[in-house]
C-alpha cells in the first residue's frame, strides 16, 4: 500500500477539533432563497419584459394617438396592464421551473443530502421567488410612477406603494400555487401553462363565477360554485382603476383583510405542497 503519491502537508481540517455548527431553519431557507434571486438576476427574463414594457409605454407616451384629455389615462392603463402581465409571467415561469430543474439537473441530491428538510427547501423556493418578483415589481412601479409623474405632474407615491403591496400579495398566492403545481403535475412543462391559464382565468372571470353558475345545469352549477369558493380571488387585489383615475387610497381595513387573505391562501398552498413533497421519493 505504498504506491500512493506523497500527500500535501496542509491538513483538511482548519479549525482544530470538529466544531459543531448548526444553522437555524430560517438561515437555511434564506440561503436557498438567495440562490433563486441570483438566478433571476442572471437570466434575461425580467430584463426582456421590462424593456418591452418600457419601450411600448414610452412609444405610446411620445405619440399622441388618443384624444388629448384621455392620453394620460390610456397610457397609464396600458402600462399597468403590461406590468400585470409581465409580473405574472415572471412569477409563474420562474417558480414553475424551480423544482423540476432541481430534479433534472440533479442539484436536488447534493442539497437534500445536507441538513435541510424538504419543507425548508420549498419554503426557500417560495421566499426566493416571491422576493425576486418583488424586486421586479419595484422596478416596474418605479418606471410607472416616473412616466405618469412626468406626464401628469402629480406624484401620488402612497397610492403607488399601496397598489404595489396588493399586487405583491397577490403574487404570493400565485407563486405558492405554482410551487404546489410543480409538485403535483408530473410533466414540468405543462405546469407553467396550466398555471398561466388558471391565473388568467381567475383574473378575468373569477368574480363572475357565481353568476355564471346560476345559469348552468346541475352538476356544472355545483362545480362552478365550488370553484368560486375554493379558488383564491386574485382579482380582488387589482386596484389599477384607482391608479388610472387617481381615485386615491383604499382604506386600511380592507387592505389588511386582503393581506390576511393572501397570507392564508399562500400558507395553505405551501402546506399542501410540502405535505406532498415530503412523501415523494426523489430518486426517479
Amino acid at each position: 500500500m505504498n504506491n500512493v503519491v506523497p500527500l500535501q502537508s496542509t491538513p483538511l481540517r482548519c479549525s482544530g477539533p470538529a466544531v459543531e455548527f448548526r444553522s437555524s431553519p430560517a438561515s437555511r431557507v434564506w440561503a436557498i432563497a438567495t440562490v433563486v434571486i441570483r438566478e433571476l438576476c442572471r437570466r434575461k427574463d425580467f430584463y426582456v419584459l421590462f424593456i418591452l414594457t418600457a419601450l411600448i409605454s414610452v412609444t405610446l407616451a411620445s405619440v399622441n394617438i388618443f384624444g388629448d384629455d384621455k392620453v394620460v389615462r390610456y397610457l397609464k392603463e396600458i402600462c399597468l396592464l403590461l406590468i400585470w402581465v409581465s409580473s405574472l409571467v415572471i412569477a409563474i415561469v420562474t417558480t414553475a421551473r424551480q423544482i423540476p430543474s432541481e430534479r433534472e439537473n440533479r442539484t436536488l441530491f447534493p442539497l437534500l443530502a445536507k441538513p435541510v428538510s424538504r419543507g425548508q427547501l420549498l419554503m426557500g423556493k417560495f421566499v426566493g421567488c416571491w422576493m425576486a418578483v418583488g424586486l421586479c415589481l419595484l422596478c416596474f412601479y418605479l418606471f410607472f410612477g416616473l412616466l405618469s409623474g412626468i406626464k401628469e405632474q402629480s406624484w401620488p407615491v402612497l397610492a403607488y406603494l399601496q397598489a404595489m403591496l396588493l399586487h405583491w400579495a397577490m403574487l404570493a398566492m400565485v407563486v405558492s400555487m405554482t410551487l404546489l403545481g410543480s409538485i403535483v403535475f408530473a410533466a414540468p412543462s405543462s405546469n407553467g401553462t396550466i398555471l398561466l391559464v388558471v391565473t388568467g382565468g381567475i383574473l378575468f372571470v373569477g368574480s363572475h363565477l357565481n353568476k355564471l353558475a346560476i345559469g348552468l345545469p346541475e352538476p356544472g352549477q355545483t362545480l362552478v360554485y365550488g370553484l368560486y369558493y375554493v379558488l383564491p380571488h386574485l382579482e380582488l387585489f387589482d386596484v389599477r382603476e384607482l391608479l388610472v383615475h387617481g381615485w386615491g387610497l383604499v382604506p386600511a381595513a380592507p387592505v389588511v383583510g386582503a393581506l390576511a387573505y393572501a397570507a392564508s391562501y399562500s400558507a395553505l398552498f405551501l402546506a399542501l405542497a410540502s405535505w406532498r413533497f415530503r412523501r415523494m421519493p426523489v430518486n426517479t
Binding site: V5, C14, P17, V35, R43, R106, P110, A113, P115, N283
Partner: protein, 258 residues
C-alpha cells in the same frame, strides 16, 4: 490522525440493518423489483469502505436510503447512531452523487458559500474552508467563473469540493472516479487517501475492484442487491493469493452464468 474516544469505538459511524429496497418494476407494470436485499453492514470510525458491485447491483439505491432520498422498504440505516429518517443525521456527512450538475449560473465559490450557509458555518470559517477545498480539488484558478464554463472533470471536482465543505466525519461517495481520465482518478484516490490519513470515514462505491485495493481498509461486494463477500482487504488478499480482480470476476461471472 485523531484519537478515537471510547464512545466512538463502540458506535459504528454507519450502520445498515437488514435493508430492503424495492421499486415498481420498469419493465413490467405491477411487479416490483428488488434493488437491495437483506443488506447489513457497519462501517467504523476511520475506516475506508469500498462498496463494490457491477452496474445495477444496488449501490446507488443503498446510498439513496442513507441520504433519505427514498425510504427503505424494510429495515433501517443509521448515521452516527441517528436514523437516516431524521434531517439532522446529515449534519456531519459529505456526499458526492453519481451524476450531478451544479447550479450553472453560480460560480464555484458561490456554490460553496451557499452550501456552507446551509450547514451554518460562520462566514469567516466558511471562507477559509472554501479556499482550502478549492485548492485541494485544484479549482482555485476557476473559482470566480460560472459553472457553465466548466468541463466535466471540473464539475466532478466541484462535487468533491462541496462534499468536503463542512469538514465531514463521514464521506459517502457514489462512484467518485467513474467518468474521469486516469489522472483524474488518481487525484481522487489521493484525496481519499488524505481523508483517511486524517481519520475520516469514507464509504464509497465503485464498479472496479482494481482501484480500491490501494485505498480501502475493507470492501463488500454487492451482486444483484445481495452482499456476496465482505472483509478486510488484507484478509481477502491473503485468501485469494493477492488477486482481488480475479475474485471479483469469479463472483460476477458465476452470477452471470447462473
Amino acid at each position: 490522525m485523531r484519537v478515537a474516544t471510547c464512545v466512538d469505538v463502540v458506535e459504528p459511524i454507519l450502520k445498515i440493518d437488514d435493508l430492503w429496497v424495492e421499486y415498481p418494476s420498469r419493465e413490467s407494470k405491477g411487479r416490483i423489483q428488488q434493488a437491495v436485499k437483506a443488506l447489513s453492514l457497519t462501517v467504523n470510525r476511520g475506516e475506508v469502505f469500498g462498496f463494490l458491485g457491477p452496474n445495477g447491483a444496488g449501490k446507488t439505491s443503498t446510498m439513496n436510503v442513507l441520504l433519505g432520498f427514498c425510504p427503505p422498504t424494510r429495515g433501517n440505516a443509521y448515521l452516527f447512531g441517528t436514523s437516516v429518517r431524521e434531517t439532522f443525521a446529515r449534519q456531519r456527512i459529505g456526499y458526492l452523487p453519481e451524476l450531478t450538475y451544479y447550479y450553472k449560473f453560480l460560480t464555484a465559490e458561490e456554490i460553496l458559500r451557499f452550501y456552507a450557509q446551509i450547514f451554518g458555518i460562520p462566514r469567516a470559517v466558511a471562507e477559509q474552508r472554501i479556499d482550502l477545498v478549492l485548492k485541494l480539488v485544484e479549482l482555485d484558478h476557476a473559482r470566480r467563473r460560472p459553472i457553465k464554463t466548466y468541463s466535466k472533470g471540473m464539475q466532478q471536482r466541484v462535487g468533491l469540493a462541496q462534499a468536503l465543505i463542512n469538514d465531514p466525519d463521514l464521506l459517502i461517495l457514489d462512484e467518485p472516479t467513474s467518468g474521469l481520465d486516469p489522472l483524474g482518478r488518481m487525484k481522487v484516490r489521493q484525496i481519499i487517501q488524505r481523508l483517511r490519513n486524517e481519520g475520516k470515514t469514507v464509504f464509497f462505491s465503485s464498479h472496479e475492484l482494481g482501484e480500491v485495493e490501494t485505498v480501502c481498509d475493507r470492501v463488500g461486494i454487492l451482486i444483484q442487491g445481495e452482499m456476496r463477500v465482505e472483509g478486510k482487504v488484507s484478509d481477502l488478499l491473503q485468501q485469494h493469493y493477492g488477486n482481488l480482480e480475479q475474485l471479483f470476476m469469479e463472483i460476477v461471472g458465476c452470477n452471470a452464468a447462473a
